[in-house]
């Protein structure tokens, strides 16, 4: 079994066949993780570094509607590119952060916010960690009190007699 495993691992591409460089394989992996390199094109960036920083901050709070768990700053989707451009336009035009968020929310709904508002429907979402923590503390507290209570139970008369008997024995 062990021999078999060793053989298999030798056949694996990354370790490289004898005399062959693993570089092409490594390069292949590099291309496979393309989306991780979806940093915005430098030409998209605003010239004013302060404004660009603001735009990036806003963009990182906006969900890309195509790859729904990425922000528009992280996503390589074309729509994300369009939305990044719009964020920069609004920032350049002097809109506040809230105004840009509202602009997006008017079109894409609260789903576009990666951080949802605190409302009745998101109450559980926001408070779940706190509720879980409190529940954990409560359970721990009850369990502790119980085991303490068990320890503190005094011996009854027969047990006392038994103990005395045991102690008296040499």
């Amino acid at each position: 079994m062990k021999r078999f495993l060793v053989k298999r691992s030798k056949g694996f591409a990354l370790s490289g066949v004898k005399g062959q460089s693993p570089l092409p394989f490594l390069l292949l992996f590099l291309f496979m993780c393309g989306p991780a390199f979806a940093v915005s094109d430098p030409r998209e960036m605003l010239h004013d570094p302060l404004m660009e920083a603001r735009a990036e901050k806003i963009g990182s709070q906006l969900r890309c509607l195509v790859c729904q768990n990425q922000s528009i700053e992280d996503s390589d989707a074309e729509l994300a590119h369009d939305l990044r451009t719009i964020v920069r336009e609004r920032v350049k035009a002097g809109d506040s952060d809230d105004a840009v968020m509202a602009w997006m929310e008017n079109r894409y709904g609260s789903f576009v916010r990666l951080k949802p508002h605190f409302t009745a429907s998101t109450f559980l979402l926001w408070t779940a960690p706190l509720i879980t923590l409190l529940a954990g503390f409560t359970i721990a507290f009850i369990a502790r009190r119980r085991s303490n209570a068990k320890l503190a139970t005094p011996l009854d008369s027969t047990e006392e007699a038994q103990l005395a008997q045991l102690l008296r024995e040499p």
Partner: protein, 187 residues
């Protein structure tokens, strides 16, 4: 002692019941996803119930149209179905026969092509037919005002120039008969 037995029974049954309930819940969800009653990617569209956004679009052969023209048409002749599509979009090509059937049924159908070019658009219509009374070409901005996140998406504009209905994804016969046509009839 009976308290202890009770406790043990609870410990054995509660997880089983919870597992059962969870399984039924999951099964229902997957079933509803399969039959199209539930789509976890459907995020709704906040433009529904609001006024049609303003736009002015060029056409691919001759003039396109403006939001004002669309509103005027809806006010004069009744609700208009507005379809965002693209010649490069495969679901849109699959949707084309449904659109042609709608046009034949005298549904007022206007189209906006998304990030498209006149030449591929011409061959798209040459292949699948052009069901639209008017076609505008959008470079992407108008679509964002509609909260669009892909093509095809379909809207209904009512007589008052309000967006009354929306569907993300291709229209098929079921969606037309069960959702689009009843909605049009109710407006």
């Amino acid at each position: 002692m009976s308290n202890e037995i009770m406790r043990r029974r609870l410990i054995t049954t509660v997880p089983l019941v919870a597992l059962g309930a969870g399984s039924i819940g999951f099964y229902t969800m997957l079933n509803r996803m399969e039959t199209g009653k539930f789509d976890p990617h459907d995020i709704g569209n906040p433009t529904v119930g609001k006024r049609l956004p303003d736009f002015s679009l060029p056409g691919f052969d001759g003039p396109g149209f403006t939001s004002a023209e669309l509103v005027a048409e809806a006010a004069k002749n009744g609700p208009v179905v507005l379809n965002f599509f693209a010649s490069w979009c495969i679901p849109c090509a699959n949707e084309a026969p449904v659109m042609l059937a709608l046009a034949k049924d005298n549904v007022r159908l206007w189209g906006i092509s998304y990030k498209d070019h006149p030449t591929p658009l011409r061959s798209f219509f040459a292949q699948g037919g052009n069901p639209f009374a008017r076609v505008g070409m959008d470079s992407g901005r108008t679509a964002i005002d509609f909260g669009l996140f892909g093509v095809p998406e379909t809207f209904i504009v009512d007589r008052h120039g309000m967006i009354a209905w929306h569907l993300a994804g291709p229209l098929d016969a079921d969606a037309v008969n069960q959702n689009l046509l009843p909605k049009l009839a109710s407006l």
